[in-house]
Subunit: 678 residues, 2 copies
């Protein structure tokens, strides 16, 4: 293969796989009068050739007395399929049937894009060696919006990107290459159906993405991605009417502003009929917003949403609004409370095609935070759960940190908004409040590196994100097992070691960096590596306020009252250090270093212990990885080995810096006498 | 005036000045057969017109029975001047004589550029209202090299620049405008005779400054500056033979490399016959250097110096070499020791036209450091004292911080290298060791802001730097008084208040930031504002290692032994906390917070006290400035007022952050009960 990059789980390394399913791929019937299934055909061909080394023959009419694959829209099939389950617009059927003496494996869906998802499911099951003779499957995505947010800048850099440069942009131009299409394939194979191309911080040339300078080329990208069922969105500046329209205001209640957005929407859709909509970061970290004009967030969102509405476009509005110029001396203000305080009173005021996108926690993608109380707080507002696939605070794709475990906890978190069973996943799938335009957005961890994600094992995060967005009830064990098999192979040692490493990696990272919900002990700016007081005297509102005897912020009803933003029983559970989950203890409470934890040891000794333990886990990971050398090609083996080596060194640095920090604060040594640098 | 910038002390605001000297400016005789004194004529014309509103008449032959100004090279004068002092190549004579019934004020020097210095001296004395009828002055610069180092990047940004963008570069091009010439005038008027145009970190386009892409335009700049006696230097990358020459090595002992540098020098001098030479930052903070090839700093410098030697060019080699990837856990390594350890053994090995440029302190431009022991350590090596006029660590031209007081202390510091009288100023003027190619370099604080230096009062730093480089024995009181009179006027309140503010500003800054030589409690990266442990766990080698009971690094003979790099008596004086100057106590010693200081109070209480005191001084500065409103034009008054207001707020932030930091470490409150935030 002449590509300069690998195709992750679509690489079809057949060498280490055994599959009996090749007989379905010799003859393929496409019910495709208008060549709308072009990419389906292409994808099946690639797979058959690369995996089985066979050249499939394609037909457009049913065959007699044969075993074959039949693919088409449900309404275009030559016979009626009996199915006892609804098939959603993006869902598909994979079913083995007999028809006119033929054995037929039918792949069908209500739309062309739904069939694409089915193709990847079929390919996956084929590779995994499943018996498809008895298959009878209907698969529907549970979430409507399954989005990637790219924080790509037009100069080609990526904000918080750790996997090379942008796939979409270079030197203020849009790039269209073979890789564009391969990226669409990669994403479609996980079930993702929308991507925001550019950084939410819209600066310089990016302001003009919605102008005719760029729209024709954006349309080209959109066309490529649309083929794979993926819609294109753009991040726009709230001040666009000023920057681009020459208006002297961006006031959402100005009729001139409303008109400008309407005309802009019309113009964009004239280029891109399938355009997804806008993502807006407003009133947030120096980005302009409605606040400037004395308007609220709903007013700000609605003027743009209304403009998109005639075209079925979405307006996605980030809830990441807080005072980023806090004075550390101010102990009243609590950044954790900001989103709820600002958005809760506006519940019900957002337009139907407006969606509020909420970060998983009340702060900012730390390795451990409680779930944002805005989930469960908003009942009449469309919501997107925002996750960070890119590892800004979680090791920057140098550290192995599988985020599935973190996300699963969030999705399964029960808000009790309508009593038991009000989990986050039930809110964003529309069950709890009946809001349908909901979903999940992940900040992309991809770039133009050879393996897309910098760290080969970080591919698992992208895969898992897509799979959970399709079905948040899917088990991580299942998701991971499939990923490992597709990506590396089916050997037991591979499954055992990789599962162990991935499933334990987030906890390890938490342990050797900042346990108990502390967070923020990173170097300011780039956010890599330890700096225990790096943010302590800054304006970002992220303080732990450690002194000689205690640490943490009291966010209980006796402190900043953040706990009161939760439903019962959480407000009570979090309020008391005895009932508060220990992993969140220092997020909610200020405690003395000699506070006795459940295991009988002091808080301080537990902090020391966890830091030693976290590093030991990485030492174990290194060993486990080395055992895999017989099963993995040298390139990938060495790449990951090198990353793990760096991780181990950096984990030790974390351990030592944080332990030293607390030792220097308290003068209390480790009770087991391990090395803590003075 | 249509300029978009002001001319600082060359603004000739005649409104608030009284001078009786206009009668010298009606008739001016220039001994100038070849129009070599073009800029002298121009400068005198500008001054006469702007200051006296008279149009001088210029003659080329002596006048009879008249009072006039006579300007020319000594050997071109119509009569012999009797002077009893040597006039150096750059020195000048200003002398009132009678000749053929005329009263003549003679300004003469051995070279055209020396006359320029004389012109500015004459202008200054005229403005200040001195009686020139009896003047009889010979002025020679004491230092040979009086350099500005610009850290300007070719994209127009300035590393550590706080006064706008570059005057020289924009969008990877060289800018030549009226301002270029005005900048040359400004610098010449202070006595500066060399400038390095570009950043010592040579990256991207800057690599090519010594290629034909840029050389013709560099030559244009050189021409403009040469007219004012200023030579142009360039920063170059040690790896230029690789980047530009296509060689596969930059090994200084490679004959190919030597040849490349020789040819490069020849090429440059073919464009710029008066080219000054190169400045090189090698083996320093990720810049390439001879270390890569197992060669020492002298070998690295000499290969380039040799190439410049046929053209009388200088090779200036920075001594800022240290391990910038230190592990904070390593308590053996002491960054302060690096320069001495590396350069002392090479003393005498540097070529004659090579000069080692040494930062004033062993660390990096902190508000208080001891003088680098490399001064006095090197006896057979040309040396330049490197100062930072731009206020990287000293308030970034937001804070008023007059650096003359700091510089004067350094210049007057007696190294005792050859017994008493071995002051820094006597080393760099050649007296102590007889090395002649020495001098002072200041990192420029100028940019394209309206007042050149961002803060109007920061102009005093540029002025003072130039004046001290001309004569390090000049008194600050004298230097400042002249600057205030030229820049603002002669009113007593102006002199009193401004002198007080400027002379006390450095001490105030030290007090409310980091007293006792602590340093480094700044935000990493941009270096503005407090972050007491910002650098504590980093790789830069800048640690204070504060814990619950003590702070500071033991650099004595019992610690890292840094003190042993000094001559007696300093090694002993610094070694003992009782004899160590208190302002450097925590640079040399690790002390408990309850250490009793000379005033009977603890170290901790003194730290608290100084922080409160420092802020009080800024409150006083604000008052003193406000008293000046009647004497200063509104623009400048408001600009400085705004800066002082920000300084006051930021000084309070510093006070509170540092006090809180120590309070949180110790739990010991201020004994006077003032507010320390918990």
């Amino acid at each position: 293969m002449s590509r300069e990059y690998e195709m992750a789980w679509l690489e079809y390394r057949n060498a280490y796989r055994i599959s009996q399913n090749d007989d379905w791929f010799h003859s393929i019937v496409l019910c495709d009068e208008n060549e709308e299934l072009r990419v389906v055909r292409e994808e099946l061909k690639i797979f058959a050739e690369e995996f089985f080394q066979i050249k499939p023959r394609f037909y457009n009419k049913p065959l007699k007395k044969r075993k074959y694959l039949l693919v088409g829209r449900i309404d275009a099939l030559p016979f009626e399929l009996k199915i006892d389950q609804d098939v959603h617009q993006e869902g598909f059927i994979l079913k083995s049937v007999r028809f006119k003496e033929s054995s037929i494996l039918v792949l069908a869906g209500p739309s062309n894009s739904s069939i694409i998802y089915g193709v990847y499911e079929l390919i996956k099951r084929t590779i995994l060696g499943e018996d498809l003779n008895q298959v009878n499957l209907v698969s529907n995505p549970k979430l409507r919006l399954r989005m990637l947010n790219h924080w790509d800048n037009l100069d080609g850099t990526i904000e918080r990107g750790y996997a090379g440069n942008s796939i979409f942009f270079k030197d203020d131009s849009i790039v269209v290459s073979n890789r564009t299409k391969d990226y669409a394939r990669l994403l479609a194979s996980t079930g993702i159906n929308g991507i925001v191309l550019n950084n939410v911080n819209v600066r310089k040339a990016a302001l003009k993405l919605i102008e005719k300078d760029y729209l024709p080329k954006v349309a080209k990208l959109a066309h490529i991605f649309n083929d794979y069922g993926i819609k294109i969105f753009l991040s726009v500046s709230f001040a666009s009417p000023i920057h681009l329209g020459g208006l002297n205001t961006a006031d959402p209640l100005s009729s001139l502003v409303a008109k400008w957005w309407r005309e802009k929407a019309k113009e964009i859709y004239s280029y891109i009929p399938n355009f997804g909509g806008f993502l807006v970061k407003a009133d947030s970290e120096f980005n302009p917003g409605p606040h400037v004009y004395g308007r609220n967030q709903a007013q700000g969102a609605n003027v743009i949403a209304k403009a998109l509405e005639p075209f079925d476009g979405y307006l996605i509005w980030r809830a990441f609004v807080y005072n980023c110029m806090q004075d550390w001396r101010d102990q009243e203000t609590d950044r954790a409370k900001a989103a709820y305080e600002i958005f809760k009173p506006l519940d019900g005021e957002f337009a139907e095609n407006a969606i509020v996108q909420i970060k998983y926690g009340p702060m900012d993608f730390q390795i451990r935070e409680p779930v944002s109380p805005l989930f469960g707080g908003l009942e009449k507002t469309n919501q997107i759960l925002e996750l960070q696939i890119t590892q800004e605070y979680t090791g920057q794709q140098i550290h192995l940190c599988y985020l599935g475990t973190l996300w699963k906890e969030i999705l399964d978190f029960d808000t009790y908004a309508k009593g038991e069973g009000s989990q986050i996943k039930r809110i964003i799938d529309g069950t709890v409040f009946g809001m349908k335009n909901c979903g999940m957005a992940g900040v992309a961890n991809t770039g133009d590196s050879v393996n897309w994600t910098g760290h080969d094992l970080a591919q698992a995060n992208l895969w898992t994100f897509g799979k959970l967005a399709w079905n948040p009830d899917d088990s991580l064990q299942h998701i991971l097992e499939e990923w490992i098999k597709l990506t590396f192979g089916s050997e037991k040692t591979l499954l055992k070691n990789l599962s162990h490493m991935l499933m334990n990696s987030r906890k390890a990272y938490e342990e050797y960096t900042t346990p108990y919900g502390l967070g923020w002990m990173v170097n300011p700016g780039h956010h890599y590596g330890p700096n225990p007081e790096g943010y302590e005297y800054s304006h970002w509102g992220t303080y732990h306020r450690a002194n000689w005897e205690a640490i943490g912020v009291d966010r209980t009803s006796k402190g900043t009252k953040f706990t009161q933003q939760y439903h019962s029983p959480w407000r009570k559970v979090y309020d008391d250090p005895n009932s508060c989950p220990e992993e969140l203890l220092l997020f909610f409470h200020r405690l003395r270093y000699d506070y006795k934890m459940k295991n009988g040891k002091t808080l301080l000794q537990n902090i020391y212990d966890l830091h030693f333990k976290g590093v030991e886990k990485i030492e174990e990971f290194v060993k486990l990885w080395n055992e895999l050398s017989p099963f993995i090609d040298e390139k990938r083996f060495t790449r990951v080995k090198d990353k793990l080596q760096t991780q181990l060194e950096n984990a030790k640095e974390w351990r030592d810096a944080v332990n030293t920090y607390f030792y220097r604060k308290t003068g209390i040594p480790d009770e087991r006498g391990r090395v803590i640098y003075p």
